[in-house]
């Protein structure tokens, strides 16, 4: 008889461990990128669309650049954008969610509706517009993505805040005269941590998707900086001559996304948070 609601915190722990291991691996390889990559990712050569060889483990692309090196360096940019953007979104989301949930009333309505406007806006349109207006630089991409995911994190924070703020011991604290701010930080915030952790890892997975999708559409960091989505898009034309130009970035993207999903699942089971 298997009880599926609590597969055991042990399962959660092992998933978290796996996720962290994968994450560590990715971060280390990409951080050490320039020293680990066998070639300069921008170095062109006449040896284009070559298959895998001792020299080029994953072959070369249409202007002779080494695919493996481009994957490693591309990973740096992709992961950098992802982490920073989510960090910014988290900061923004927590602040707005706390503010909105705690203060309630008109402020809550206004903030939530303003966030609704962002929520309703097609992600890609926003990204296309920001990128076209301001240029496809890394900071602009970070900004765009952070803006897009802030509403989600704000909502996640607001939910528990709304219910918690009515709890008895919070009322008690208030009646004794503890300041609102202290109540917010000491009582409310810790309860919000669990869902936030889970949601953040989900958002990280989603962000990898968004970043690579944007660069797939041509809105990512411009050449010659490599990035996974762009490599996937460029590789499409010559897929049949050199499948690795497509399979390589595809695997990289899947691996990165998988890392965060594993983490999210592990956290969810460990912290026993029921999904929505």
């Amino acid at each position: 008889m298997t009880d599926t609601r609590k597969p055991g915190r042990a399962a959660g722990r092992s998933l978290i461990a796996l996720g962290l291991f994968m994450l560590l691996g990715m971060v280390v390889v990409t951080a050490l990128g320039p020293w680990v990559a066998p070639f300069n990712p921008s170095a062109t050569s006449p040896d284009s669309l070559a298959g895998p060889s001792a020299q080029h483990w994953l072959g070369t692309d249409s202007i002779g650049r080494d695919v493996l090196s481009r994957l490693i360096i591309g990973g740096r940019t992709t992961l950098l954008i992802t982490f920073v953007a989510v960090a910014v979104a988290l900061a923004g989301g927590v602040v707005l969610g706390l503010l909105s949930g705690y203060v309630g009333g008109l402020v809550d309505q206004l903030v939530m509706r303003a966030l609704d406007v962002i929520f309703a806006f097609p992600v890609f349109l926003l990204a296309i517009a920001v990128v076209a207006a301001l240029g496809p630089t890394v900071p602009n991409l970070i900004l765009t993505i952070a803006v897009v995911y802030t509403p989600r994190l704000a909502r996640v924070v607001r939910g528990p805040v709304l219910s918690v703020k009515r709890w008895d011991h919070v009322e008690a604290a208030r009646s004794v005269g503890v300041g609102e701010f202290r109540i917010a930080v000491r009582h409310v915030l810790p309860l919000v941590v669990s869902p936030i952790l889970v949601e953040t890892s989900l958002v990280l997975a989603q962000t990898i998707f968004t970043v690579t999708a944007l660069s797939f559409l041509g809105l990512g960091p411009p050449p010659p900086d490599p990035n996974w989505g762009g490599m996937l898009s460029e590789g499409r034309q010559f897929m049949e001559l050199a499948p690795l130009t497509v399979i390589g970035p595809a695997c990289a993207i899947v691996f990165a996304t998988l890392t965060f999903i594993v983490l999210a699942n592990g956290l969810r089971e460990r912290l026993d948070v029921t999904g929505k």
Binding site: S42, A43, T44, S45, P46, S48, L49, S62, I63, G64, A132, G218, P222, P223, P224, E234, R236, Q237, F238, M239, E240, L241
Partner: protein
Amino acid sequence: MSHPGPTNEELELWLPTVALGVQRRSLLQLALMGAGLAASPSLLAQSGVPKRGGTLTIGADADPIGLDPVTLTAFSSYDFTAQLYTGLLRWNAEMKIEPDLATGYLAPNDTTYIFRLRQGVKFHNGQPFTAEDVKHTFDRIMDPASASPSAVLFASVKAVTVVEPFTVKFELKAPSATFLSYMATNPNGVIVPRGVVDLRTKPVGTGPFVFESYEPGQQFVLKANPNYYEDKQPYLDTLVFKFFKDQASLVSALRSKAIDMTWFKDPKVSAQIVKGSRELVSAPGKTSRTFPVWFNIKAKPLSDVRVRRALSLATDRKACLQTVLGSGAGKVGAMVPESQIGGYDGVSPLPYYKTDVAAAKKLLTEAGYAGGLDLGDYIVVAANALDVQCAQILQQQWAAAGIKVNLKPMETAPLIGLWLKGDYTIMSIALSWSPDPDAIVSRLLSTHSQGKGIGMADAQLDKMIEDARAILDVPKRAAAYQQIQKHVADQAYLLQIYQYPLRWEAWWSYVKGYVPLAANIRTFVRAAYISK
């Protein structure tokens, strides 16, 4: 008689009035071709008798933006206007001018052209074609309210007069060697009917195909014109253009025979697809454009000719060509592509074309940049993969000589804005095919809006360009353009890297009789037929 060529008496009447070399040559051509206009395509068609009927499906990568030849500005519309409209003259497969709606012309002096028009031609709506339509077309072109791009090209035209119902006279302000080329170019010189208002969405012309329907983003359907004046053409019943958004889907569509014919921007893609099947034909077409690197020479450091020459020396044009286009797909380029009068053949020596990084460094030191130089943003059209690739290679080549640039791929719309104003340091944007070398080099005139924007002020070059415009003798004109190119390369006002065909066409071998044109418009669809 369906195509009245000049009779023998008329030939005798006309020949003695010829003043200069090119007219004579053209008239001889006209005389030879007079009776058998259908001759040239069939000379080129490999196998036998054209079959009637059938539908040809062509893969297109861009929707047309407007179908009125007088007002349209987008290159993507040209493919469609080439089927719908014809002009007084046209280009043949060898890129020589031949008669079309005109059966011949007379040039009593070097600023007057009297065209004899074909009789019995009808527009798609049944309206008969006469000299009045020619006048109407050019009135519209010259009218500022039309905002016609052709207005700039025909700026030398002083007056268009209807002499008789089938004779029309053009008077120019000054002798112009470009006039006939522009007349032969679709859509600039094509004729539109009087009294028809909305040509933009309901085109009516004299071309081999009639507009049937258009679903944006999906397909554009044309039907054969039963009244087309060229004997027996078009052979096809229906012509369909299907729209695809990118090269990958064009490849797949061609392979699976969802389309019969298409063209690719990247020669490597074209080579790949043809490798896949013996029944696929690929024709590179003639080199028709170059990849330029424009400089803004108003301010330092690019105002210093030594810096510019250093850039030219640091560039390895052959390596760019090899890596970006692959072998056999293009040539080293200069201002004028090979298919034009005076075009560069890709091999003759030009100043500062021979790669020499050491010499480049030396020039930089002389100019005061011994420790290297940072030129800022190098702007390139993001949507053109080939351009971006070449720009990356150039960036590396220049870096080897100590010159640093920051590659900045940009969307076309804002890029054009900057380009028009000259608001850049270094930029690469290729010009689309132009019918005459003058259109290319005149951008470097100090009086031209582009020349002004980038700071051109070379009086000697100005004179060379203006003189070359008026030379009617072809070999002399070609020599003049060679001189211009040498001068431009010597001063390194801009860099030209390579020249290549704008598109590489590919089609299934059951499509016969088709010839790709350097002008990059599919006028030879009229001569194509399907033989399965």
